[in-house]
Each structure stands twice: as C-alpha cells, then as structure tokens.
Amino acid sequence: MTGLAEAVRGLSTEDLRSLLLIRHFELSLLRLFEAGQIGGTTHTCLGQEYIPVALSPLLRPDDYVFSNHRGHGHLLARYGDAPGLLAEIMGREGALCSGVGGSQHIYHHRFLSTGVQGESLPVAVGTALRLKGTGALACVHVGDGTWGEGAVYEALNMAALWRVPLLVVVENNGIAQSTPTHRHLAGTIAARAAAFDLPHIRLATTDIGTIRAELAPLVAAVREESCPIVVEFVTHRLGPHSKGDDTRPAQELDEARAADWYRHAAGGDLDLEIQALVGRIVADVSARPLSVWERA
C-alpha cells in the first residue's frame, strides 16, 4: 500500500492532527471502558476517521450535520471539542449536553446525533427544506446497515421530489454490527439511489485530497442547484461494533488493518503529540466533578 503511505505523508498538518485526535480519542474510550471508567455503550469509528476529516472543509458553519450512533469522529472533525465530548460520555462537568445525551445523543451548534437507525434522515429532509435557497445544506451520516430502515426510502423520496439541499453520506464499512453487507443488503446502494433519480458517487479511496477534489463540485451543486446526492464511502471498521463484540475472521480484520491510514502515521512526532494531548484530556476530564442536569 505505497499509495496509502504517500497519501498519508502528503496530508496537511491540520488534517493529520484531526485524524489523530479522533483515533486517539476512540482508543482512549475503549481503554476507559476496559478499565470500567465509562459505563453504557459506545461505538468507535476506528478506520473511518478520514471521512468526516475529508468532508470538514466542504461544510459551512451554517450547514447542519446529522450524525448517528458512530458519531464521535463527525463531531471532532467539525468542532474539535474533545474535552466536551469526553465529558459528555463520562458524565462530567463541561459535558456538551450535561451528560444526558451520552455517546450517541449530542446536539452542539449545528451538529445533532441520534441513536435510532434511519431516524434522522426524514428530520434532515425537514431541515434541508428550511435551508433551501440559503446556500446551506443538511448533511446526514448513515451506514450500510441503515438501508434496512424504511425511513431511509421515505426520506429519499421526499428529498428527490422536493429538491432539498441534502448530502447523504453513506459509510459502507461492509458490516452492520455483526452481519456482513451481503447478508443484509440486496442489490446495491447505487441502484437504490438511482431508483429515486438521485446522483450517487462511490468512493473507494481513503485519500483525503482525492475525496475532496471529487466531492467539491458535487457539494457545490447540492447548495446551488438544491439537488440531493448520495455519497457512498467504501470503508473499513477496524474496531468492534461496540466493545469487544467483533466476530469477524482474522483474514477480514487483516484486510481492514491493511487499509488503515494510521499505520503510516504511527510513531511520528505529531502522533506522539496528539497521543499525549488526548492523555491529558482524559486525565483532566476524569478528575472533574460529575455533570449537573438543570431540568427545564
């Protein structure tokens, strides 16, 4: 994978920082869970960090991002607030949503995540309807597994009929929790988008520069022509669905690891710097008092 190595070497410091922040944040979460310092559940985006990092400069401050259960990277790539997110997950002072939302229910500026598959697509269509004509858009992240939900098709139908500025980002990591895509999805996502006459692009690369170059004109068209699009990333989930629940065979995991950008950034100065930074954030947030929820 010399191509991948070159691509990682060619990243801007800003992009690499963002990638590393997400990677070390997620790894820290898994360690905190193992140590019993976090309860509940979490879904890390290990291996998929490059998607929100690539999208980040294509989004405007007045765009809405609708995220899902696997949303830490989406938030960090956009707002970078690792202490606030960790405090939210740990229920500590400074939490983005007072610790009420937790890992998968976060509303911060124009970022909103929910925990039910497919639920946010119709909501995103409503928000996009409101944004239509302003140049802003609604970006909604879904997985391959989300395409099992009827709400997806109801929403795409309306998005196409009403021509709302909706950017659907599909992170097709080949597996829905424990069920491989070929066992849960008939046909293709491309064909499903085509059924609604929606443009669809499939991006198998992890190269951030290539992704941006491909997407920039398409995202501009979403804004200017108010035409929804479906962007499908072929990606890899490196980690478990949640925690310690990975049942994939070793060969599959090896393939996922081979595609991992981090192999080419590990051990570098920036890697060590961000690792230390996240370590300090974990220490700081862990020492904070519990969050307080002031009920309406």
Binding site: Y64, A95, L96, C97, S98, G99, V100, G101, H105, I106, Y107, L112, T114, V116, E119, S120, L121, P122, V123, A124, V125, G126, T127, A128, L129, R130, L131, A138, G150, A151, E154, A155, N157, M158, L161, W162, W293, E294, R295, A296
Partner: protein, 350 residues
C-alpha cells in the same frame, strides 16, 4: 371567562353571529388559515391536503391556494413526514402535520416518541420543537378496524409529548397557537364525527364555562353545567370527541331520571390538567377500547387527590376490548354510545 369572549369573537369573525355557529371542521379550517396568515414560519404537511382536494376531511381546504409551498401534499409516508415536521421545527420553523387517519400515527411512533419528544430534553437543555401532529380519530362512521380507532392511550406518558383532543368548546385558533407556543411536540386528536357538529353549542339546558387557568392558551377545562343547577349528582369527564354523547346522556338522565350531571371537557389529555369535579360521583367516558386507558390515568389522579371527597371510586367507561367492526350495527355494539354513559352514571349514583 376570556375563552368565552374569544370564542364569540371567533364566531363573529366567521360571520356566524346571526346564523348558526360554524361546524367544527369549518372552524378548524379557519384556525389553520389564521395561523398560517399570522406566522410566515409555519408549514402544514400531510397526504392529499392541497387544493382542490383539500384533505380527506377538508380541514386544509384553501390553504395551499393562499399559502403556496408552505402547505405541502406529501407521499404516503406518515413516519417521514412527522420527521420532516420535526426537522423544520429544529431549524427554526414550525410545522403542523396531518395524519389522514389517526390509526396511521402508529407509523410515526418512532419519530414522535424517540425523536421529536426526546429531542426537547435529551440534549441536556430545552430544545424547542414546535410541532403539531393532527390525527382525525374515532369511529361510528363504518370505516372498519383500521380507520376508526382512538389511539390516544398509546401516547399517554411519553416524556416531552403532549396529547390534546379537539373539543366543540375550545377556540381552535387559540388552542393551536398555544400548542405551538410551548415548543413541545403535540398530538391533536380530532374526532371525525365531531367535525360535523357545531362549535360552542351545548343545547338549551346547559351552559358552558371554563374552569381553572391553563398554562397555555386553550389549556383550560370546559365545564358544561345545568343552567341554574346546584351541586350536580355526577361529574362526567370526557375528551372533546365524546362531548356530544355525554350531553345526550346528561339530557336523558335529567329528563328521565332527575339526575343532574356536569361535564368536564379538557382539551389537553396529557399531562392532565387540573380537573375539579363539583360532585362526589365521577364517571370518565372515552371512545378508546378498554384497557390501559386515558380514563385510568384520570382516575388515578382523582383518587389520590380527592379520595375522601368521593362517594365511590371513579367509574370508567370506554369502548369494548375489541376490534372495531365495519357494519354499523356491529360497530355500535363495540363503540361507546350515549346509552353506555347513561348506564354508567345510573350505576354510579345509585
């Protein structure tokens, strides 16, 4: 008694002062016109709601002609249009979504219970979601099992979700404006037979007042009482769709049995408004099928608050525990009728 004054003003605006009061359907349609005119951020969505059709029950007639894209006919997607309404509301607009038959609101349960209602609080701070989901409900029209239900009870007790029912006594403009003002998603059930009745009328024997002050406009409880009567023998508590059946029962009880009833009609079903019966016998009547009902919630509240004052536990009367048949004679056997209310009152007061 500001509500009564408002109601009269509303009637005057509709040019109905000299003639009969408007029918409930016309009154609600007028309210939607007024709300859309007053608020350029308000949207109305639903299946087949635009002109010339104007909605299955014509409640949205004329709206799309006057207000263009803010009134939108949608695909047959109850779940998603409820989500679209929530998305509009989150982004600073307001939305009224019509579900063609209340039976189909089950398809929007996830959007209502898991998204719209939770979003108001699960992000740790109050998030306004000004959304009304209108649901034409109830039977006695021969539509059969899947077009006749009163599913209010399934939505009782969902944090963040308010449940209302249209009544013949509450001014609809005021009621809907009050619902939007709260910034919480609200369900509004609208009895389909009530659509055909006239607003503000309780017959020659009864007068209508309002008890208590609601937190929001339209939250007050309508009190229908015998003109010049003293302490009633029985208090009937009913949602708006049962008001006319309760009136018919109350008239009959007075004429045939000399039993004096008052009728309390709240517009808000959940959370319960303060219900203040003037008598020591209480009957709650609703069209929902039996089991896990709104009335059980009312009874629990009254028992804990006024147990020593009650002569008997609150009596609950509802439709039977049954699917709703299509044939008129069979439907009547299942659904709550005035005779069921009359019988329940007689058994309670004697």
């Amino acid at each position: 008694m500001t509500d009564v004054a408002d109601a009269r003003q509303s009637a005057a605006r509709e040019g109905a002062v000299q003639g009969p009061a408007p029918r409930v359907a016309e009154h609600l349609n007028r309210a939607l016109h007024d709300l859309l005119e007053a608020d350029p951020d308000l949207h109305v969505l639903g299946e087949d709601i635009t002109d010339p059709y104007g909605g299955a029950f014509k409640i949205t007639k004329g709206l799309s002609t006057r207000f263009g894209d803010r009134v939108r006919s949608t695909p047959i997607s109850e779940g998603a249009i409820t989500g679209v309404g929530a998305g509009l509301a989150l982004a600073g607009a307001k939305a009224i979504v019509e579900i063609m038959f209340a039976d189909f609101v089950t398809l929007a349960f996830d959007q209502l219970a898991n998204f719209a209602a939770k979003s108001t609080a699960m992000y740790g701070r109050p998030v306004p979601v000004p959304l009304i989901v209108r649901c034409p409900s109830g039977g006695n029209r021969g539509y059969g099992a899947t077009h006749s239900q009163s599913p209010q009870k399934h939505f009782i007790g969902i944090p963040g979700l308010r449940v209302y029912e249209l009544t013949p006594f509450h001014d609809a403009t005021r009621l809907l404006a009050g619902m939007l003002e709260q910034g919480l998603p609200c369900l509004l059930f609208e009895d389909k037979v009530l659509y055909t009745r006239r607003m503000f009328e309780a017959g020659p024997l009864f007068r209508v007042g309002f008890a208590g002050r609601g937190a929001y406009p339209g939250d007050e409880v309508a009190r229908v009482s015998l003109d010049g009567g003293g302490e009633p023998d029985c208090t009937l508590i009913v949602p708006g769709g049962v008001a006319h059946r309760a009136l018919a029962a109350a008239e009959d009880l007075l004429m045939e049995h000399e039993v004096v009833c008052e009728i309390l009609v709240p517009s808000r079903l959940h959370p319960l408004p303060e219900l203040l019966p003037a008598s020591r016998h209480v009957v709650v009547a609703e069209e929902s099928t039996a089991g896990g009902t709104w009335g059980a919630d009312v009874a629990a509240a009254l028992h804990s608050r006024m147990w020593p004052a009650l002569r008997k536990p609150v009596t609950l009367v509802s439709s039977a525990d049954s699917v709703i048949p299509a044939a008129a004679h069979l439907e009547r056997e299942v659904l709550l009728q005035p005779g069921d209310i009359r019988r329940a009152v007689l058994e309670t007061v004697t």
